[in-house]
C-alpha cells in the first residue's frame, strides 16, 4: 500500500528540481546570513584576555568613555546628516517635481546619477576643496586677502565638516523618495482643495506636504542610517580631526593588539539600531493608503514660480554645485595637476598620476583586477541566486519559500562594518582559513548585495502575470521550457538592471572590505583609503575617476543592450 502511494507521488512530480534547489538555497543563504551573526554574538560574550565567557565587553559599552563618545558622536552625526539632507532635499524635490523650474528634468537626472558617487570619494573631494591648509577654497581665500599661511576660511576636518560632507552624498535618498512621492500625488486631490477655496500655499501646506510626509520621513531615516553605518567618510575626515565615530572605533579595535570580543560587542548595538530604523521606515511607508495612490488622475499640476524663479534656480544650482560640480571638478583637477594647490596652466598639467597608478604602482593593477573580478562574480552570482529565490518565493511553488525570501532580505539590516566583523570572526579561524583570500570578500559582497538583487528580481517577477506562464503550460510547454521561452525574455531587462546595480554597489564597497582585506587582496576602494593616509591625492583621484568610469560604463552598456520596447511590454493594452 505504502509503496503504491510512493510510486504515484513520484509520478506526479516527474523530475522536479524545485525541492533540491530549495534545499540547496536554504543551506547557502542560512550560512551566508546566520553564521556571521552567530559568531558575532558568540565573540561578544568571549573575553579578549582569557577567552572565557564574560559580560565585560557589554559593560565596556557603557563604561568605556571612548566607546560611549564614539557612539554619541556617531548618533549626533547621523541625526545632523538626516536633518540637513531633509532640509535640502525636500524643497529641491518639490521644485523639481511640482514647479516650472527650468531644466528640472536634467536636474533630476543629475541627482539620480550622483547615487553612483561613492561617499568616500566625495569625502576626499572635500579634502581637496576644504582642508585647512591645502584646500583649494582656503588657498584662494588667502591669495585674495593676502593672509598668513595658517589662516583658513573653512575646515572640513571638523564635526560640522563631516556632517556636511556626508549630507552632500546622502541627500539623493531623500530627494528621490520625495520627488517620486510628489509625482504620485494626484492632481485632483489638490484640485479638490482649491475648489473648496484653498489658496496655493494652503493647498501645499494642508494637502500636498502631508501626503508626502511619510516619504520625507522614510528618506530621512535612510539618510540617518547611511550616515550611522558609514565607514569611509568618517575615516577620512574624522580621524584627522581627532575623533572617532563608532564605525572607525570598531575598525581601530582590529588594529594591533586586536580586541575581537569588544569589537563584536560594539557592533551589536549598531545592528539593533539598524533593525529598528528599518522597521520604523517600513511602518511609515507601509501605510500605503496614505502615500501611494492609484488613480487615473492625469499629470500632477505644476506651480508657476513667477518672480521666485531666480531664487529657486540659485538654490537648486547651489546645491548641485556643492554636491556634484565642485567635487567632480576637484577630483578631475587633482588627477591632472602636480599638486592639489597648483593653479591650472600648461606647466602644472601632467599625466604623472595616471602613469603612477596604471604602470608604476604595482598594487593598483592588482586592486583593479581584483575589483573588476569580484564585481563580475558578485553581480553574476547574486543575480542568479536572486532570480531563483524570487521565482520560488513569488510563484509559491513550494511551501516555505517565503522563508527563503526572508533570508535573502535579512542582510539589509546588517551594516557593512558589522558584517565585516561577523565574517572575520567566522572565516578567519583555522577551520576555514579564508582570511587573506578573495573568497571571504566574495562572501561579504554576496551577503551585502543579496537584498538589493532579490528586491529587484522579485518585483520583476511580480510584474510578470502568472497567466503568461500558465498559457505556455496549457499549450503544451513544460515548466522549464515556459521559464526559458516566456519568463526569461520578459525578465531580461530586470536581470540586466539588477546585475548592473550589484556590480556598481560592489566596486564601491568599503565598510566591510576594510576589515577583510589583506596585502594580497587589495581592492580599489581600499587602495584609495590607503593612499589617503599617505596623502597621495593625485593617485586617489585617478583611481576614483576609474571607479566612476567603470560604473557609468556598465550602466551605459546595460542601457544599450537591445531590450524590449515599452509598447511591447504592455500586455494588457
Amino acid at each position: 500500500m505504502t509503496s503504491i502511494a510512493l510510486n504515484e507521488g513520484a509520478q506526479r512530480r516527474g523530475i522536479d528540481l524545485s525541492w533540491p534547489t530549495f534545499a540547496l538555497l536554504t543551506v547557502v543563504l542560512s550560512i551566508l546570513v546566520i553564521l556571521p551573526l552567530f559568531w558575532l554574538i558568540y565573540y561578544s560574550f568571549r573575553s579578549d584576555a582569557g577567552g572565557g565567557a564574560t559580560l565585560d565587553n557589554f559593560a565596556a559599552l557603557v563604561t568605556d568613555p571612548a566607546l560611549v563618545r564614539a557612539y554619541a558622536l556617531a548618533i549626533g552625526m547621523a541625526l545632523g546628516v538626516g536633518a540637513l539632507a531633509c532640509l535640502v532635499a525636500t524643497p529641491m524635490a518639490w521644485l523639481v517635481a511640482r514647479t516650472d523650474l527650468p531644466g528640472r528634468r536634467h536636474i533630476r537626472m543629475l541627482v539620480t546619477a550622483s547615487f553612483v558617487t561613492p561617499p568616500f570619494l566625495g569625502a576626499i573631494a572635500y579634502e581637496i576643496i576644504a582642508a585647512p591648509n591645502s584646500g583649494i577654497v582656503n588657498i584662494i581665500y588667502r591669495y585674495v586677502f593676502g593672509l598668513e599661511p595658517g589662516a583658513y576660511l573653512v575646515n572640513i576636518y571638523t564635526f560640522t565638516g563631516l556632517v556636511f560632507a556626508i549630507a552632500c552624498f546622502t541627500f539623493p535618498y531623500v530627494f528621490t523618495l520625495v520627488a517620486n512621492a510628489l509625482d504620485r500625488v494626484p492632481a485632483d486631490l489638490e484640485d479638490a482643495s482649491s475648489i473648496l477655496g484653498g489658496r496655493a500655499l494652503t493647498t501645499l501646506r494642508k494637502v500636498t506636504i502631508p501626503m508626502v510626509l511619510p516619504a520625507i520621513l522614510a528618506g530621512t531615516l535612510i539618510a540617518v542610517l547611511q550616515a550611522l553605518t558609514m565607514f569611509g567618510s568618517p575615516a577620512i575626515l574624522a580621524l584627522p580631526a581627532g575623533f572617532h565615530v563608532i564605525t572607525t572605533k570598531i575598525w581601530s579595535l582590529f588594529q594591533f593588539p586586536p580586541r575581537l570580543g569588544l569589537a563584536a560587542a560594539s557592533a551589536l548595538p549598531l545592528l539593533v539600531i539598524t533593525m529598528l530604523l528599518l522597521r520604523a521606515q517600513k511602518s511609515i511607508l507601509g501605510r500605503r493608503g496614505y502615500t501611494v495612490l492609484g488613480g487615473k488622475s492625469g499629470t500632477p499640476r505644476l506651480t508657476s514660480l513667477g518672480p521666485w524663479k531666480w531664487a529657486a534656480m540659485a538654490f537648486v544650482y547651489g546645491v548641485l554645485c556643492l554636491t556634484i560640480f565642485f567635487p567632480y571638478a576637484a577630483l578631475i583637477k587633482t588627477a591632472f595637476t602636480v599638486t592639489v594647490g597648483d593653479p591650472i596652466n600648461f606647466d602644472t598639467l601632467t599625466l604623472r598620476h595616471w602613469n603612477f597608478v596604471l604602470f608604476d604602482f604595482s598594487a593598483t593593477r592588482m586592486a583593479l583586477y581584483n575589483t573588476i573580478l569580484l564585481g563580475f562574480l558578485t553581480a553574476t552570482v547574486v543575480t542568479a541566486i536572486a532570480l531563483v529565490v524570487s521565482y520560488l518565493a513569488i510563484r509559491k511553488t513550494i511551501p516555505g519559500a517565503k522563508y527563503l525570501g526572508f533570508l535573502a532580505t535579512a542582510p539589509v539590516a546588517i551594516p557593512g562594518i558589522v558584517l565585516g566583523v561577523g565574517l572575520f570572526l567566522s572565516y578567519a579561524n583555522p577551520t576555514f582559513q579564508l582570511y587573506g583570500t578573495l573568497w571571504i570578500l566574495l562572501i561579504a559582497f554576496m551577503t551585502i548585495e543579496l537584498p538589493a538583487g532579490y528586491q529587484q528580481m522579485s518585483s520583476a517577477f511580480a510584474g510578470v502575470h502568472p497567466e503568461l506562464e500558465e498559457a505556455g503550460r496549457i499549450l503544451g510547454a513544460s515548466r522549464l521550457r515556459t521559464l526559458w521561452e516566456i519568463t526569461a525574455p520578459l525578465l531580461r531587462t530586470s536581470v540586466v538592471a539588477s546585475w548592473c546595480f550589484v556590480f556598481v554597489g560592489t566596486i564601491r564597497e568599503l565598510s566591510a572590505t576594510i576589515l577583510l582585506t589583506t596585502a594580497n587582496t587589495k581592492l580599489v576602494s581600499v587602495i584609495i583609503y590607503d593612499l589617503n593616509e599617505s596623502g597621495d591625492l593625485g593617485a586617489i583621484c585617478v583611481l576614483g575617476i576609474l571607479l566612476l568610469v567603470a560604473s557609468f560604463a556598465v550602466v551605459f552598456a546595460a542601457n544599450r543592450v537591445p531590450v524590449l520596447g515599452g509598447a511591447q511590454m504592455n500586455a494588457r493594452g
Partner: protein
C-alpha cells in the same frame, strides 16, 4: 460515456473548501458554462480541469482517461487542452503570429503547415492584417481575438475560458459573445466557459451549470435554468425573481405569509416545512380595480416606488402582509405612489421551490 467527467471533485486550501463534491458530465462538442457569483468555486473548478491545481478528492476523466485524482495529476502541458485567460496572457515579447504559432511549435508541426494553419485561424478571427503587431499595439478586442486564435489553432481536446470578456467594454462584450458562439459552432471543441454574467452564459452555452458556495446548484439548458429553476438561489441569480415564503396547502396550493394563496403549476413542494414560490417580475399583473374574486392567486398592497423606463414602468409594491414585490407594467399603466393596487400571480408563472 461523456467526454469530460468530473466525479466527486473537491478542492480545499487549508480549512477552506472551495470546491465541494462536484459531479458533471460534458458530451463531446458541447459548450458548458460554469455560472455563479464570485467566490463560488467556478474558476477553481476550471483550473482543476486544466491541471493547474491538484484535486483533494474525486477525479477528472477525459475520454475515459483519468487526468486528475487525489493521488496524481497529469501536468497541464500533457493534457492537450487550451485556455483563454482573463488577462488574455498574450506574451508581450512575441508578435501576433508568434503568439498563435507557439502551440504548434511545441507540437513540432512543420513550419509550412504551421504558417498555413496560423493564417487560416487568423483569417477566421479577422486578424490577418495584424499578424506582425505586438500585443501592446492592439486594442482590447483584438487582444481577445488573438487569445482565441492561439487557443483554437492547436485543435485542443478541450477549450477552457476563464471570464474571457470581463476586461472588455459593454459593446465589445456583446459582439464577442456572439463571436465565441460562432467560433464554437464552426470548430465544435468541447468547451468549458467560466463567467459570472448570465447573459454571457445564455448567449454562448449549450448547458449552464449554476454554482454556489463550491457546489453545483443546477445544471441544464438555458431554458431549464430560467423556466424551471430548482432552488431559490438559481431562481434569484438567473433573471431575477420575487420569492414568497409559505407552507404547502391543499393540492398544488402554497399558503404564503399574509395569507396569500398561490396555486403553482410547476415545481416541487416540500412535504413539511417551508416551500417558496418564485414568480418573475414581468409575470405579475397589476390592477387598479379590485377584482371580483381575490381568493386564489391574488394579493393587495400599495405602490411604494414607480419608475418610468421608456419601454415599461418598474413598480415596487408593499403587500399588506409586509412583503415587497417588484413587478413591471406597460407604460400606460401609470399608478401614483401610495395608491392601493391588486396583483395577480397567474398559476402558470408560479413555481414552487422546495429548497
Amino acid at each position: 460515456m461523456s467526454f469530460l467527467e468530473l466525479d466527486g471533485l473537491a478542492k480545499s486550501y487549508g480549512n477552506l473548501t472551495v470546491v465541494k463534491n462536484v459531479n458533471l458530465s460534458v458530451d463531446k462538442g458541447k459548450l458548458v458554462c460554469l455560472l455563479g457569483p464570485s467566490g463560488c468555486g467556478k474558476t477553481t473548478t476550471l483550473r482543476l480541469i486544466a491541471g493547474f491545481v491538484p484535486a483533494n478528492a474525486g477525479s477528472i476523466r477525459v475520454g475515459g482517461q483519468t487526468v486528475s485524482s487525489a493521488h496524481s495529476t497529469v501536468p497541464p502541458e500533457a493534457r492537450n487542452m487550451s485556455m483563454i485567460f482573463q488577462s488574455y496572457a498574450l506574451w508581450p515579447h512575441m508578435t501576433v503570429f508568434q503568439n498563435v504559432a507557439y502551440g504548434l511549435k511545441l507540437r513540432k508541426v512543420p513550419a509550412i503547415e504551421t504558417a498555413a494553419r496560423v493564417r487560416t485561424i487568423l483569417a477566421a478571427t479577422q486578424l490577418t492584417p495584424l499578424e506582425d503587431r505586438y500585443p501592446g499595439e492592439l486594442s482590447g478586442g483584438q487582444q481577445q481575438r488573438v487569445s482565441l486564435a492561439r487557443a483554437l489553432v492547436v485543435k485542443p481536446e478541450i477549450l477552457l475560458l476563464d471570464e474571457p470578456l470581463s476586461n472588455l467594454d459593454a459593446n465589445l462584450r456583446e459582439e464577442m459573445r456572439f463571436e465565441i458562439r460562432r467560433l464554437h459552432d464552426e470548430f465544435r471543441y468541447t468547451t468549458v466557459y467560466v463567467t459570472h454574467d448570465q447573459v454571457e452564459a445564455m448567449t454562448t452555452a449549450d448547458i449552464i451549470v449554476v454554482m454556489n458556495d463550491g457546489r453545483i446548484e443546477q445544471a441544464g439548458s438555458p431554458e431549464d435554468i430560467y423556466q424551471r429553476p430548482q432552488t431559490e438561489f438559481v431562481a434569484r441569480f438567473i433573471g431575477g425573481t420575487n420569492i414568497l415564503k409559505g407552507q404547502k396547502g391543499a393540492g398544488d396550493v402554497v399558503v404564503c405569509d399574509g395569507d396569500i394563496k398561490l396555486r403553482c403549476a410547476s415545481g416541487e413542494f416540500a412535504a413539511q416545512g417551508q416551500t417558496a414560490v418564485s414568480i418573475r417580475h414581468h409575470d405579475i399583473r397589476l390592477s387598479e380595480k379590485k377584482p371580483t374574486s381575490v381568493d386564489m392567486n391574488w394579493a393587495t398592497g400599495t405602490v411604494s416606488r414607480q419608475i418610468y423606463l421608456g419601454s415599461h414602468r418598474d413598480y415596487l409594491v408593499s403587500l399588506t402582509g409586509g412583503e415587497t414585490v417588484r413587478t413591471i407594467a406597460p407604460v400606460d399603466v401609470a399608478i401614483p405612489v401610495g395608491q392601493q393596487v391588486w396583483l395577480n400571480f397567474p398559476p402558470d408563472s408560479c413555481r414552487a421551490l422546495a429548497q
